[in-house]
Symmetry: C2
């Protein structure tokens, strides 16, 4: 057995443990009774400990050195070896004590955050968040020299390899300028049109669920490799051959669940389309969180909210829910499902204002990691950011700094992925429309196959062969180009 073969065998075992953990994570959110939580925490911890032990065993360093001395000739294998080295560097850069302290502090902070958020009391969670952020900074400082990155970049690297804050900052600054002009114009156009005919009524959960499942399967997810269940926070979990998506239903509004399911279906299709010949190897995984978000958003925002698809969807919705046909007319549906709105809550934001929410967080978390901002000053800085980008100030911290779990769970460097993904989705859609004649005609018949086929070739099947920007070069001929997203928004929101 060669050193490389030993490494891949070990990586496969680690990935298989990760699958077990992923399934248990899905269960914890979608199925588990509350009384199972404590034992489940132990199950995660034992699996994580064994996994970390496998990843950092002394023989791995020796095998990596031996394999690197005569690297595989095949591009996929050579890339895989580089990624194995990368994950070994990350795994060994952190002292086990710090990993454990982080896990404990994150769990403690998240617990207090749940109460603090409910009560809108930031001061309640500030001490725990301060302690957690001190550990996150320690983590960033331990990773930075090992990876040859700045501390904040070392954190971002954990979610989307190869993207630096210095690349993101000008993209976001440019978007800020675009938004300052575009948002008032979009609002004016929207106001001039007057209100859309609302979707009112009671939409039974079982009808919504059946519809969501059928649309998800219609988009290309296979019944024998997926489930659709319910959870408080919608997500896509599971493993590539057994993807589990979840949503939540409100009987007074079906659009949230429906578009939520299309979003998660995008994530799920990416997992399903990963190169199975490289399953359980780093090179066979999704290319990162920004890449993943590009796939959820190309299905949800780009395809499912397109004029073409809505013209097909409207009659299906009317058929399902009955009542008057007029709200389901494609133009009206478009006005309902594509509406800009300056709101306080990121996860409820429309696609034009969403990046503003991300930009605020991106800037604040950089300052936190650099030590330029104290946790105690976060609410004020948050309010300033929202005022500056969206011209609104949250009336309380529940609608402000307390809304997202990320920081309270120790996740710093994740937020940029959301908007990089949105921009990449627009760029990919533009390229797909150029490459695939009839893509919109197909969508107007409810047919995702041409788009999915293109995504499988250009994105899904590429696994982690490329980094984020190189993947975009492979698929679209150029690195991330934020203009495609602005063009998309201009087309959709700024045509009177």
């Amino acid at each position: 057995m060669t050193a490389y073969a030993r490494l891949t065998a070990r990586a496969a075992r680690i990935a298989t443990l990760g699958e077990a953990s992923a399934m248990l994570g899905w269960d914890a959110s979608a199925m588990m009774p509350t009384g199972g939580a404590e034992a489940r925490g132990d199950q995660f911890a034992v699996i994580a400990g064994l996994s970390h032990g496998l990843a950092t065993a002394p023989e791995v360093a020796a095998d990596l050195a031996e394999a690197e001395a005569s690297p595989p000739g095949d591009t996929w294998e050579a890339t895989n070896l580089r990624l194995l080295r990368h994950s070994h560097t990350r795994a060994t850069a952190l002292p086990p004590d710090l990993v454990e302290a982080m896990a404990r502090a994150a769990s403690a902070c998240e617990t207090v955050w749940r109460v603090a958020r409910a009560q809108g009391d930031f001061a309640m969670v500030a001490p725990k968040l301060t302690a957690l952020m001190a550990l996150v900074r320690e983590q960033a400082q331990a990773l930075a020299p090992a990876l040859g990155l700045s501390p904040y970049d070392a954190l971002m690297d954990g979610y989307q390899r190869g993207v630096l804050a210095a690349d993101v900052a000008p993209v976001f600054a440019d978007y800020e300028a675009f938004l300052a002009d575009a948002l008032p114009r979009a609002e004016a156009i929207q106001a001039a049109r007057g209100p859309a005919i609302p979707l009112e009524g009671v939409f039974p959960e079982h009808l919504q669920e059946a519809l969501c499942r059928s649309l998800s399967l219609g988009a290309g997810l296979e019944a024998e490799h997926s489930r659709l269940d319910r959870s408080t926070h919608p997500f896509c979990g599971g493993t590539p051959t057994d993807v589990r998506i979840t949503t939540r239903y409100r009987t007074d509004d079906f659009a949230q669940a429906l578009m939520g399911v299309m979003h998660e279906t995008g994530h799920a299709l990416y997992e399903r389309g990963l190169p199975s010949g490289h399953a359980r190897q780093p090179v066979g995984e999704a290319a990162g969180m920004a890449a993943h978000e590009s796939q959820s958003l190309i299905i949800e925002m780009q395809a499912s909210r397109s004029d073409a698809f809505l013209s097909w969807l409207g009659p299906r919705l009317h058929e399902t829910f009955g009542g008057s046909a007029s709200p389901y007319a494609p133009a009206n549906l478009g006005r309902l499902l594509r509406r800009v709105d300056r709101g306080f809550i990121r996860v409820e934001a429309d696609e034009m204002t969403y990046p503003a929410h991300v930009i605020v967080r991106f800037r604040l978390e950089q300052a936190l990691i650099a030590g330029d901002l104290a946790v105690a000053d976060l609410p004020g800085a948050w309010a300033e950011g929202m005022q500056s980008l969206l011209g609104i100030t949250p009336p309380d911290d529940r609608l402000g700094v307390l809304q997202d779990i990320h920081w309270y769970d120790g996740l710093v460097g994740y937020f940029p992925s959301y908007s990089l993904g949105a921009m990449a989705a627009a760029q990919l859609m533009a390229a797909a429309r150029r490459d695939v004649p009839g893509l919109d005609v197909a969508l107007s018949e409810g047919d995702f196959a041409p788009l999915l086929g293109w995504l499988r070739r250009k994105v899904h099947g590429q696994g982690s062969l490329h980094g984020f920007n190189d993947l975009l070069v492979h698929a679209t001929g150029k690195k991330l180009d934020p203009n495609d997203f602005q063009t998309h928004l201009t087309e959709r929101y700024l045509k009177p």
Copy 2:
């Protein structure tokens, strides 16, 4: 850290991995789409491999020797140490090659069995079963000297420690004699009564499910520590703080699901009542498969089919399903739910004929392991056994030797547990009735609390502190006494 503390810490990690595996097993049966099966198999294998590695690591032997040199003074801890030694002996007695060969052969045999059973073609699976049985014999022969048991006893020991074939054989012989007399008498009494009023109609699945859940919770299972789901083969899985029971529903018959759920609820209550202070240690586990079956059967057969409980249940059923009240009259319900019937299928058997099915299997599997019976001769020997014990001969192998998965999965020595459990359930119920005044009055009000309280003290809370017979001594003042079961059957079926 003492050697004993190191051992218990390791045992807890192994048990926690076992919990993860148990949850994944539940998922595989109740939730997983078919496309996830292959990856799931790998997940089980990796977890089993890590678990086996932890159990057989060289330092365990050293720690056991060190701990045994000055054993803990506390009875629970001393017993735990003995059980840790016992499981180490079992884990290290088998060469890893044999374990792997067994796993592969069992999986191969089970796969062919599914087709063979559907087609009623024993010859199709005979070669795989022959190969598997050769490995089971090897396994038995490797375990026997390590445990100081005969090969068949060494297999039985894997399911119910401390019970020997030599103890079981006379109990079963005695039952055979009882049955020869009792069964025709019970049938004559039944015939003399004429047919019961049947439960006819359509019983919607959601009504059955809600009723089953409510009865299960009514028997004492806590909603925050349990779930009720659906699977092809009903079972009780999960972990002590998160028990998962399953059933299946037929719209033309609710009794199967209902009694099936009460059966699994009995298993679940046992898991819930195990001593939490000894969780994840051998001494904190259930006392074996016969003990476990005694708990499912005391809830299902003893309590839920008692006159007292049926008098409460009848009106609830009528309320749920509507229609005529007469089938739900307690006496009629009793005749429907307590009916002896010479059938071919073990899992559908009534409580009087059930042991006959077990006795046939017990005798055949002993002969298989002793090498006195060839796999090719199984169908004939099966038919002879059924003819001799129940006076019926299966018309085909689907209704005969192909019906149960156990042997085709390499499980030999398990079957006796079913009937030992049934006998223990009768003995425990008799003792509970003596110890707890008003137990049947409570059941006639749908109240399981007095019975459950007694079981928690006498059985559940004892974990594995006692072996099967000592547990019965603790709870009832005597070892397994098959007369209590015969008395129970006489009361229930032989009073004209």
